[in-house]
């Protein structure tokens, strides 16, 4: 790559790495795995840099690589045998108590890891990155019906594992 492209890539990494890391953390549930996943996505984006029509496409490309890698083959950490989120049902209900909030977050962390990789990817795409079903399907390279199915199953599982999320209002978004 020439200097201009090097600079553009460096700017891209500096500005967007953390956003990618946030998604990767939800996908992998682990700091180190998230860093590895983003590193892989960035490296492949770097390889493809000259083929990207404009730098603005770089993040979309990196995210696509990241999601494909996660769904397809990325290592998944084992859920710890015992975490503060044990006996989740006892922690239902909203609260401003920081300790309760921490427990709820750990519960969600564990619940996400209990999903299949595809379900987790769809949940993160729909409810963290706010993509529509059509956009999520295009990014994952699957049909819209697959996204709907995986999303519904993932939400059901999350509601079971994290009762706080039973108030989740997803019905009105079904057709997005």
């Amino acid at each position: 790559m020439d200097d201009v492209r090097d600079c553009a890539y460096a700017d891209f990494v500096r500005e967007r790495s953390h956003a990618l890391l946030r998604s990767a953390f939800l996908l992998t549930g682990d700091q180190h795995l998230a860093e590895d996943l983003v590193q892989e996505a960035l490296a492949r984006t770097h390889r493809a840099w000259s083929r990207l029509e404009r730098p603005g496409n770089a993040e979309a490309y990196a995210r696509k690589v990241m999601y494909h890698a996660q769904v397809s083959f990325w290592r998944r950490p084992r859920v710890a045998e015992s975490l503060p989120g044990d006996d989740l049902e006892r922690h239902g209900g909203s609260t401003d108590d920081p300790a309760e909030a921490t427990v709820r977050r750990v519960a969600l962390h564990r619940a996400l890891l209990a999903l299949s990789p595809k379900q987790r990817a769809v949940i993160v795409l729909r409810y963290f990155e706010d993509h529509t079903e059509v956009e999520a399907a295009q990014l994952l390279g699957v049909s819209v019906s697959t996204v709907k199915t995986q999303c519904a199953r993932g939400l059901d599982r999350l509601r079971t594992l994290v009762p706080d999320l039973r108030v989740l209002a997803d019905a009105h978004e079904a057709g997005r």
């Binding site: 990325w74 290592r75 993160v124």
Partner: protein, 387 residues
């Protein structure tokens, strides 16, 4: 403003847990490693082709130097189908045929439509495997009687069906598991395999699997040992020919290469205009000798080769590995799946006017069967055809 969605809020807070990391140098180092791998493939192929052309060895099929480490070669004792004697499948002979050359020595489909020997799905001699992409890839087997039965319900990233249809190997949570299609608990065959670029590829005798461990390698099912493929075979989506003599695989740059199973490097399949500008990014199955391969034609980007290997992307064409030509199949409508069994029989799935049909061709392209596909598998994806 509406009340915040609890799931969205919680996901954002959970994402806040990740610590910032400087990934610039790490990503550049990884990019350089990827670049060296791609360069090694190109250099090895070019050197091999030049050496063969220069030495004249291509005129003497089978006279090439013995391989140093034939990790993917036929086992000493094998129950594989008897190899079909085809010296021309040797990688050493591949570069000498210019693209587009007619190959009268090889059977090819008749240009006119022929009548099938049977039009009843009940006469299908083998088993067809389908995946349900909407259900984490649930694997379904269609028995010769046309009855579907679920043989794998656990989520997986990639899957490979054994040549006899009795076992499936699949990757889940970074481990390789093997399950009997007749039922029973899956057994872990290897820990640490992880790749979208390599579905478990069974050797013809079912004793070994090509998997992606740290690098692509051959897993001996009896010992659990993995022997890395030679570094010259730097690719992905490796597939065995039915006689075990040949490996076909995709390069990182969306091309195909063919290698003798005992060779240290592969030979590129010529690129021709036959593919209508689409790249051949993924071999799906190989015939008995390595002469033909079913492929998925893609857009020619790295994405095409790196996406999930499993059932979501069935083959849509048959390609001649020597000439690079697409084989014109006498099938009406659009091809939505094509797989060889280890004996070289070709099952083609097509759709026309909403009707799905299955066509089974013998290795000499005699049309053995053409039948309506049972509606129960209409929404599934063709994965494999086994005896």
């Amino acid at each position: 403003m509406s009340a915040p969605d609890p799931l969205r809020e919680e996901l954002r807070e959970l994402a806040d847990s990740v610590a910032p990391a400087d990934l610039y140098e790490r990503s550049l180092a990884r990019s350089r490693r990827l670049g060296r791998r791609e360069a090694a493939v190109g250099t090895a192929a070019a050197v091999a082709a030049l050496a063969l052309l220069g030495s004249g060895l291509w005129q003497l099929p089978g006279s090439g130097p013995a391989p140093a480490t034939p990790v993917a070669g036929p086992p000493v004792v094998s129950s594989a189908p008897a190899p079909v004697a085809e010296a021309a499948t040797s990688a050493a002979t591949l570069p000498v045929r210019p693209p587009g050359t007619d190959r009268p020595d090889r059977p090819r489909p008749a240009r006119t439509t022929t009548s099938p020997r049977s039009t009843s799905i009940a006469d299908l001699p083998g088993h067809i495997f389908y995946a349900d992409a909407a259900d984490d890839g649930r694997l379904v087997r269609l028995t010769p009687g046309g009855r579907p039965e679920t043989v794998l319900t656990k989520p997986y990233a990639t899957v490979g069906v054994s040549p006899d249809g009795a076992r499936v190997a699949y990757v889940a949570d970074g481990a390789l598991l093997v399950a009997d299609t007749a039922g029973g608990d899956p057994q872990q065959a290897y820990a640490g395999t992880a790749s979208a670029a390599q579905a478990p590829a069974w050797s013809p005798d079912g004793s070994r699997l090509i998997i992606e461990a740290a690098e692509p390698g051959v897993l001996d099912m009896a010992t659990g040992a993995v022997t890395p493929l030679p570094s010259g075979l730097d690719g992905q989506h490796f597939r065995w020919s039915g006689d075990g003599s040949t490996l076909v695989y995709a390069t990182a740059g969306c091309g195909l290469e063919v290698a003798d199973a005992t060779a240290q490097s592969g030979t590129p399949v010529p690129a021709t205009g036959d593919t209508d500008g689409r790249a051949v990014c993924r071999p799906v199955s190989v015939d008995a000798t390595g002469d033909l391969v079913t492929v998925r034609l893609g857009r020619g980007t790295p994405d095409s080769a790196e996406t999930t290997d499993a059932a979501g992307t069935p083959a849509d064409a048959v390609l001649d590995t020597v000439t690079g030509d697409i084989v014109d199949l006498p099938v009406s409508g659009r091809i939505i799946g094509a797989v060889f069994d280890p004996a070289g029989n070709l099952l083609v799935r097509s759709v026309q006017d909403g009707r799905r049909r299955l066509s089974l061709f013998a290795p000499d392209f005699t049309l053995l069967l053409r039948a309506r596909e049972p509606a129960t598998v209409a929404d599934l994806t063709l994965v494999a055809y086994t005896r």
